[in-house]
Amino acid sequence: MSAAEDQILQLQAALDGELDAIGTLAFERACAADPELAADFSRAKALDAALRRAAPVEPAPAALRARMAALAAPPKQSWRERFSVPSFFAAPWPAMAASLMVGVVAGAGALSLLPPALSPDQALVAAYVRTQIGGQSVDVVSSDRHVVKPWLAGRAPLAVAALELSSSGFPLVGGRVEVIDGKVVPTLVYRRREHRIDVTELPLSGHDDRILRLDSLEGYHMARWSDADRSYVAVTDLPVAELADFVTLFRAGAKGEREDEIKPKQ
């Protein structure tokens, strides 16, 4: 390293507060002895200050802030949980009132005897477990997206984003169709070591937003997100951090694919 380069790095370290006490002292002495160095130093300081003025930290959009805060919010109790029988008895109400309410509780109990309709999430986890036990996770077995995509497109009304993620460690295994909420929907199956990730595409339901949500149901991890055209749910037995990796790759890939579709062919 030349002496000039050395001096530049020294000046820079002083500017960045990276010199120790002895170094700082030495640099101050050098500045006092060399007006040119002192001028360089104040120019460098002014440049950094100008840069901070020019490119200040920008406030995040309010919607993003709300979504991120929601990630750490305690889970909301559902209506059913709040009014379920155990929490009713746990409430510190006088026993008298409780006994008067027995009839109401019995009524609520009778209601819950009706077979509950599976929510889409429950249905997707049920499908995951069923196919895992049955050993047949896919209807079409292929790691080639050009095989999986048309197969699914021919059976489900949604356009499917069969992405190739094997270079990132998530090889495509194949696809199958599921019936969720009365609709035929495509499901892609990816593999990671001995684990599986099922990605199901659902029609946009209108109140979907772009937020990515992580949940767990029956011990499986789920991720839910949407883009401009579709809504996705991933179900897996992978650790949640790897699921997050997968979702990042998948979203970036899906986005790239959409942009390719929009771009005119050259």
Partner: protein, 185 residues
């Protein structure tokens, strides 16, 4: 299968508290940094969101001592993955230097607007553009140092570059911007 045993969320109370304490307060910086990195606010939102989920997952098992540097490192890695994936020509394991050599992460060509930029009356504007036109490795290093105040060691960890490289990138980035301002006046 019955719906019994429905866990509302995997996130533990501990992770949630850590997230609120160490990650949420740095949202503006995370967003700004992501936006500067990919030069696009919409993509920056996606990146921050993914980064925050990773942070939340990591906080289940991890305590963080330097939250800002830690978070910006996650944001940076998600953003880099994002850029790499977006560009089909890039190989998955290319490092930032390879990508630069291939011209993939190069700033938008400096030629068309360069002259206009030099005569831009506003110093802020030319600095902003000058920063945006820097190659990614220089831009991220200078941003992490001058805007976000990370130490050389923290930048070295975040960008997976030796400290010597961090220092020379900083010097190159600063001299490029200084030259830009110098030519203007």
């Amino acid at each position: 299968m019955p719906g019994r045993g429905h866990l509302p969320l995997t996130v533990s109370e501990t992770a949630r508290r850590r997230f609120q304490a160490v990650v949420l307060p740095h949202l503006d910086e995370a967003y700004s940094f992501a936006k500067g990195f990919v030069r696009n606010g919409v993509d920056a939102e996606d990146i921050v969101q993914d980064a925050y989920l990773r942070a939340l997952a990591a906080l289940e098992t991890q305590q963080v001592e330097q939250p800002r540097a830690w978070l910006l490192t996650i944001v940076r890695n998600v953003a880099l993955t994002f850029l790499t994936r977006k560009n089909a020509a890039a190989t998955a394991d290319a490092d930032i230097g390879d990508l630069e050599r291939q011209g993939i992460l190069q700033a938008h060509e400096p030629s068309p607007g360069a002259e206009a930029r030099l005569i831009a009356a506003d110093e802020n504007e030319s600095l902003r553009r000058g920063l945006a036109d820097l190659p990614l490795a220089l831009r991220e290093t200078l941003t992490l140092r001058a805007i976000h105040g990370l130490s050389y060691r923290e930048i070295s960890t975040a960008t997976e570059a030796p400290i010597g490289t961090v220092m020379s990138r900083l010097a190159r980035a600063r001299s490029a911007l200084a030259a830009l301002l110098g030519e203007k006046t």
